[in-house]
Each structure stands twice: as structure tokens, then as C-alpha cells.
Amino acid sequence: MKRIVTMKGLALLAVLLAAFLFFHPSGVKAQAPIKVGIIDTYTGPPTAYTYDVRDAFKLAIDEVNTKGGVLGRKIEFTTRDDKFKVDLALSMAKELVMNEKVDILMGTINSAGTLAVSEFCKVEKIPFLVTFSKSDKITGEKGHRYVFSITENTVMIGKAAAAGLSKRPFLKYWIAGDDYEYGHALADGVWGNLKKIKPKVELIGQSWWKVGEPDLTPYLTAISAAKPDAVIFATGAASMVNAMKVAKATGFAEKIPMFIHTATELATLAPLGPEAPEKIIGTSNYHFYYPATPKNKAFAKAFRDAYGRYPKVGALYGYLTAQFIAKALEKAGKMDREKFIDVLEGMKIDSPVGEVEMRAYDHQAMLPMFMAVTKKVPTYSFLIASDIVTIPAKEVMPGIEEIKKARGQ
């Protein structure tokens, strides 16, 4: 009799214990997650780029989380659409910090929006990782302790293009582009550096059209009348596709060599399909088929398996950002913003494009640039970059002296 009671008591105890373990919050559940807030443009044409940043970021974060997260905590992220507007970007940043209590911010594709959010982060002491804006002011003139750039900027593009173009035999150049800040900054970057490397080059004319100009035919026919040795195009995404279409239709591409930054990038070449002109010279931070390293192949495959499309350059930026965040958290040992920044400075990660270092002085990620020409291949339904030349990060980074000067130090 007594024995049965004991058995019953033990069984009851076991059930209670199990229930306790099951329902008690701290028993099995890990600590609260680390929160990242993403502000970016999720409406309109920029989404052709921003979706890749977000999706690759998610891919990397999922990898980290399935391995148990960092510091025993999962990483979570929340997105906000700034609709390519500066004021919205800023209010979204505030909202994410105040309401969502995010620990880290990242984004955006709009340079003016990025600079506004960056100012806010400087005051609030929130780490901000920039994923797509190309203004050199972000880590140059307006750089500070809390902002990092994980993307190229106009100075880097200019230096890379100049390094590549100076090795080609062109002397008489024409510059054509979108009449807005990015267009002019890009043109100034390329031309200033090219003139420095090769003083013999001559600028024989320029054409500037308004952003979104639908038909570039009159511009290209006028340029072809002036017979330059080569044309430097300083265009954003939509005009670039337009320029390449017109270059093909008018026969311009066969007559006059053209340089367009990101002409060799998938985001430009995929929509054009087999209709893209060949032999256009371009630069880009990323191709899913180059470098053909196991790391890059694995990343491209994982991205394609997850989303059913090839990763574009934005995917590299998103993935790198996640890698930097995860590694910095690991190294910092806890979610401490100041510690996070200290360890991120000078951090090196093994990325799909090889080792990338976060330069300690200006917080600019040291990304290599690839110069190539467009080429038709039977493997894909679109043209790819061929004869790829890697311009190492050291050659494209802005000099630290220049940054000191820009910051008035």
C-alpha cells in the first residue's frame, strides 16, 4: 500500500516537473533576440536592387540562427519602407529605435536618406551599416564613429574605372549621363582620376539628360557625330539599360567603345536578355559566376535555391552586412554598441568575393572591383562579364589623407 502511494507520488512529481520545464519561460527558451532594423526603399524601381540586399541578409541570418544564433541569442530583423524619401527614412529610423528597440540599423539606397539617418545615429550612438548608397560623403566628409559602409562609393568607382581605362588606348573622351548628383559625382570621379593617371586624355564634350529620360537616341546620335575615341556614361540603373538598348539599335556600340559602371552587372544584363550589346566595358563589385571559388559558388547556389533567381550585386552587400554583424557580435561577447564598433573596426571576413576588411579609419569596407566587357555565351539567356580583371581594394580605396582633408582635419 505504502509502496503504491510512493509510486503515485513519484509519477505526480514527474508530471509536475515536466509541466514546469515545459511552461517555464527561462527553462527552454533562449534569451531575447538581437534586433536589426532595415530602412530601405521597397516601392518603385530601386526594389530591383533592395530586394536582393534584404533577401541575402535573411539568408545569412537564417544560417546563423539555425546554428543557435550568436551569444546564445537569435538575430531578428524588421524592415521599413522609406519610399526613396529622406524624411520618411529618418522617421522610420527613429521609429525603429524608439518603438522596436533595435540594436543596429542598416540600409538605404538613397544617399540623401542615408546621410540623414547617419546624422541621427551619430547623435543617438546607434551603429548604422550602409548597404547601397554610393555617396562618398557617407564615410568621407560626413563619416563618424557610428556609420559603416558595406558598398562601393563614387570615389571607389572613379578610381577603379580610371585604373582600368588608362590601360586602354583611348585619348578623346566624351562624358554623358543622368543630370543628378550621382551622375555628376561618378563622372567627376572617373575623369579626375583618369586625368591624373594619364594626362594626355582630352574631354571633347559632354551631354547630360534628365533622370528617367525615356529615349536616349538623339543623345547617342549626336555623340556619334562628334566621333570621340570612347564615351564614359555616368548613369543610374534605368538609363543604363536605355543607353545599352539604343547603343545596340543605332550601331553605336560597334563604332565607339563605351564605359558604363555596372554595365556588366546582372541587374543591367538580365532584363536586356540576348539583346544587350557586346563589348561594353563595365565595372561591378559582384558576379555570381566570378570569382569561381567554392565560397562564391556555395553562396550563389544557396541564394538561388532559396529565391529562384541569381544573386545580383545587392545580394553581396546584404550578405556581407550580415557576416560583419554576426562576427562583430561574437567577438564583442555581448550586445554592447560601443564594443560592437570597436571590434568592427579593422575586422576581416571571408566573403564570396574573398577577404573583405572593414577599414578602421573611415569605416569603409574594402571591396575589390571587377572590370570586364559584356559577352554573349550559350550557358545563359543573358550576356555575362568576360575578360574580367580584378582591381584590388587597395587601388580603389580613397586615400586616408583625402578623407582627413574632406573632414577638415
Partner: protein
């Protein structure tokens, strides 16, 4: 740095032809906008969105068949898709609003433009799309030592065809005549026992169909992207304003001024090319504030 590039008569001619071809696409779209403005008195901001839908539909249809056949099919079907959308919009929404003041109509069509823009994003996504010109019209023809794209010559031809067809429609068909009459005095047309409601629906669909045709025609020359509607609608309103609101021939004159000043401006002053079409608009409006030709408003 050279300011004026050197060019001869060949370059001038080719630049003129390129300008004309651009003017023709503008004309096709603006004729539709002007027709709707004239007959229905609706300043349709969503006209640009219908043009964008026309371009995206052209992309989808041209992918449905291999080779050039896809494009020719698209040129036929894309305007019909747009016509269908506009018919639904007219019967469900617009016809209840004709009596409202213009500001309300502006707000309404603006809202519709935003909704259609988002629908395009849902259906086709945010990627840039591109359509190839049919084989027959690929490449360029050289003339007098200068080359221009075959497709642009085709555009000039189509533009003239549309102009003739519209003239025949407005002047020689009963529907066209009623539309013109309704534009002048819609109450009187109603008193004559004509179903004005359906005349309006017909006029609206024809106008919008032209936006779709414009979108289909422009598809092989540009990247098809979200936002192409905004760029176009601003130019289109400028053109119908300088031409004379509701006057189709005014739309033709306005388009020619816009297209040709732009292409010649590019040739003479490439750095300031943006300014020329707008400067032309200012000059026209200073000299003739109501537009070049008679406005029906």
C-alpha cells in the same frame, strides 16, 4: 573642351529623323489624352499608367511566342488589354464622376494612377523589363554616311498612320462626329436621343487604347520600368497644353515641337539639352497662352 561639336548635313538630318520618331510616340499617347480631355473633360493622370501597362503587356505577349511574331502579336493585343482595363474603369468609376469639378477629377485620376502603378508592381514585379525589336526592324540603316535605327523609321510611319486614322475617325464616322458634338455641347447631344453615356465610354476607351499603343510602340526602345508613367504624363500634359487642350492636331504640333527641339538641342548644345523642350513650351505659352490651336475648353 569643345563646345560645339562639328557636324554636317547628314548628322543634322539623322538627328531630325530621330526627333521625329520620338515626336510620333508622344503624339500617339498625347492624341489619346487630348481626345479624352476634349470629349469627356477629364484630365486623366492615369493615362501615363495605361501607357506603362501597355509597355509591360507588350513584354508579356512578346515572350509568349518565340521570335518576332511575339512582338507583332503584342502590338495588336497590348492596346486591347489597356482598352479593356479602361472600359472597366469607365463603367465602374469614371461615369459617376463626369459632373464633378475638375479638381476632384484630378485627385481621382491621380489616385487611380497610384493604384495602377502598384498593380503593375504586383503583376510584373519591380525588375526592369526589355523587349527586343522584331527582326525586320533591328539594326540601323545608313544614309548619307550617317546611321539611324530602322525601328525609328517604323515609328514615324506608324505615327502618320495613327494621325490619318484619327482624322478619318473624327471626320468620317458617325461615332467620331457624335464625339465631336458631345465635346461642344453634351446636353444637346443627349436631347437628340443619343446615348451620351456610351459615346463617352467609347471615346474614353479609344483615348486609353492610344496610351496602350504608345506603350507597345515605345517598348523596344526603352527599359520598361515602374516610374515610366510619371515621366511621360508630365511631358504629355505639357504637350496637350501647348497644342491647345482637347485639340488632336494641337497634340501633333506640340509633340513635334517637343521631339524636334529636344533632338536638335542635343546636337547643338549637348550640355544644356534638357532645357530646350521646356524653353519651347514657355515661349509658346507666352505667345499663345491658350495653346497653338483652338482649345475646346
Amino acid at each position: 573642351m569643345g563646345f560645339l561639336p562639328t557636324f554636317g548635313p547628314a548628322e543634322l538630318l539623322s538627328q531630325l529623323i530621330v526627333g521625329l520618331s520620338r515626336a510620333m510616340i508622344l503624339f500617339v499617347v498625347c492624341a489619346g489624352l487630348s481626345f479624352v480631355l476634349g470629349v469627356l473633360r477629364v484630365p486623366n493622370i492615369a493615362h501615363g499608367s495605361l501607357y506603362m501597362i501597355g509597355a509591360f503587356a507588350t513584354y508579356s505577349f512578346s515572350k509568349s511566342l518565340t521570335g518576332s511574331a511575339g512582338f507583332w502579336l503584342a502590338l495588336l493585343l497590348a492596346p486591347l488589354v489597356v482598352a479593356f482595363i479602361s472600359l472597366v474603369a469607365e463603367r465602374a468609376l469614371f461615369r459617376h464622376l463626369y459632373q464633378r469639378e475638375h479638381l476632384m477629377l484630378l485627385l481621382f485620376t491621380f489616385a487611380l494612377a497610384l493604384i495602377l502603378g502598384d498593380l503593375v508592381k504586383i503583376v510584373w514585379g519591380a525588375e526592369y523589363r526589355s523587349v527586343a525589336a522584331p527582326d525586320l526592324l533591328k539594326g540601323s540603316i545608313s544614309m548619307l554616311g550617317s546611321s539611324f535605327p530602322r525601328y525609328n523609321l517604323f515609328l514615324i510611319f506608324i505615327g502618320l498612320l495613327v494621325a490619318i486614322a484619327l482624322w478619318l475617325f473624327v471626320n468620317k464616322t458617325k461615332m467620331g462626329k457624335i464625339s465631336r458634338a458631345a465635346a461642344v455641347d453634351r446636353d444637346m447631344v443627349g436631347l437628340l436621343g443619343i446615348n451620351v453615356s456610351w459615346v463617352f465610354a467609347g471615346a474614353f476607351v479609344i483615348g486609353c487604347c492610344l496610351a496602350g499603343l504608345g506603350g507597345a510602340l515605345v517598348a523596344p526602345t526603352v527599359s520598361i520600368t515602374l516610374g515610366m508613367d510619371h515621366t511621360l504624363i508630365i511631358e504629355a500634359f505639357l504637350i496637350v497644353t501647348i497644342g491647345g487642350l482637347g485639340n488632336m492636331w494641337g497634340a501633333l504640333a506640340g509633340s513635334l515641337i517637343f521631339g524636334v527641339t529636344q533632338s536638335l538641342g542635343v546636337l547643338f548644345f549637348p550640355q544644356f539639352a534638357i532645357v530646350f523642350p521646356y524653353a519651347a513650351v514657355v515661349i509658346v505659352l507666352l505667345l499663345r497662352p491658350k495653346g497653338l490651336l483652338k482649345s475646346v475648353w
